[in-house]
Subunit: 308 residues, 2 copies
Amino acid sequence: MLDVRRLRLLRELQIRGTLAGVAEALSFSPSAVSQQLSQLEKEVGVELLRTSGRRVVLTPQAEILVSHTEEVLRTLERAEAALASSLTTITGTVRVAVFQSAALALMPDALSIMDSEYPEVRVEMVQREPESALRETWARDFDLVIAEQYPGHAAPRHPELDRRTLTTDAIRLATPPSDRGRSHPASIEGAADAAWVMEPRGTASRHWAEQACRRAGFEPDVRFETADLQSHMRLVESGNAVALLPDLVWIGRGTTARLVLLPEHPQRTIFTSVREASSTRPAIVAVREVLDRAVLLVAGSAGAVPPG
Amino acid sequence: MLDVRRLRLLRELQIRGTLAGVAEALSFSPSAVSQQLSQLEKEVGVELLRTSGRRVVLTPQAEILVSHTEEVLRTLERAEAALASSLTTITGTVRVAVFQSAALALMPDALSIMDSEYPEVRVEMVQREPESALRETWARDFDLVIAEQYPGHAAPRHPELDRRTLTTDAIRLATPPSDRGRSHPASIEGAADAAWVMEPRGTASRHWAEQACRRAGFEPDVRFETADLQSHMRLVESGNAVALLPDLVWIGRGTTARLVLLPEHPQRTIFTSVREASSTRPAIVAVREVLDRAVLLVAGSAGAVPPG
DNA sequence: GAGTATTCTTAAGCAGAACTGACCGATGGG
DNA sequence: CCCATCGGTCAGTTCTGCTTAAGAATACTC
């Protein structure tokens, strides 16, 4: 019978590309991975790895094994989920990947509720950008990811991930509170000459924001660039920049910035994804349900955000 | 992750009824089976076995695990079978890079044959210029490249690539169908004053065409420049330009253009290259063999091209 | 072109996992 | 009541699988 532990190594090798990468990911020494894969090769009696330069590539036979391994791992995960849901008390560990503004706005409430209602569930949280978070969830580094999606930027679709919309989040033009002699831009067109802060190139947010400016007829003067939306807030509130920011960043704290709703009412979509095989795990179901409630809590306090 | 070896013991226990029976069936001592199942119980944290009289019975949770174990074992068995049959039938993915006129003339037939004769082989095709395609094949972005070579322009030699000529392709002077009062050029010299369409500067095709004109004693008036040979055809057929075009561009569709064979009988060479190391991969061998047949098919229909 | 950094492989040694065998308590048939 | 059968436990042994270290091949860098 094929050894599933070794097959898993082969699968990780396909994902990560190098033995060293597999070893790193699974906390082994590269030597251990090498030996185990040689062993697997000997067992099946077929060449699985071929050295190519200083790395190795999978032979077509290895690809076949990997494709079946996927299903084995899925089944095992489903087995664990079924076992867990047959019990009455909900327990286990849920590893969550979450992007910054959700981490700040949603997770504190969600963690509090989890702690009081599901004390046996341990929630681990890591901050990650949506794209890598989705990939890593697929690769079993996380159990649940909270990701965002800007209008016109569909997130990569992993067929094995079960996706559910958590909420939507209006994006507004944020401008400095006092005008220091300048007039408040009442629309995105009015901010054509302002200094902008945006996220780094290559992010969906940046691309969307630039497009919004171009649709308004100008090329934004992006003077500040940072992935940290908290910095965006500060730059706006201190009168140094304007920005297009989703409402979630203001949650839990008021702002002196002036917020202008855009005519198209753009919305950022926030969703959760879990591996399909683990979607029935009670602990994961619980986290999702609690997140829904955290969203309601936050929406209730959203009166703090003036309509602009 | 659940240990499949232990799950298997649990499954055997369901079938055989007693630990001793399992041990007997799998050539273990009963003690080993007992210890392994206790271990499994500890890992999942759920009671799996309950003593009943002098035997043990599976708890409902154990039954859940067993039912999933069935599927795991089935999948593993299928994996072994797929692996075994992959040794006799040809499978795998072949990534092909191909330049435009071959993509249009050769690949449709080749893909059809592949699909019917080697359904287990997945062929991926990307259109690329020969030079970058060769480099990318060498760099493992592609498995097979279909490239061209003009007379006097040896393609870059990558020692690691295994190159094989696929066919040669006569290059002819193509002139507009009706002469609108002008006389048909009967030779390249006769087109000295015509408007030319050629590929962009820097391509082998352009360089060769310019040289051909200069050998004929004139500098061509290159009024149109595009890498798309389909556009060349249109410009010629619509009476706006003359061009030097290989026969392959006309394949599969007739033309109203007049084709003049040049005295030197220039030929473009079309070849395939694969990495030396992968040149014996059955799927790649199959693609090459099928390409050869596609060439024959196309040559059979080449009567459509008038000798000029 | 030499030096450096990666990556994989192999060898040697060691810790822990897994198995065997002996023993014990419990059970149920005769 | 007796004893064969079964499962659980403990001690001891075997062997798998890990780490470290050394080495070779390859690719990058100055």
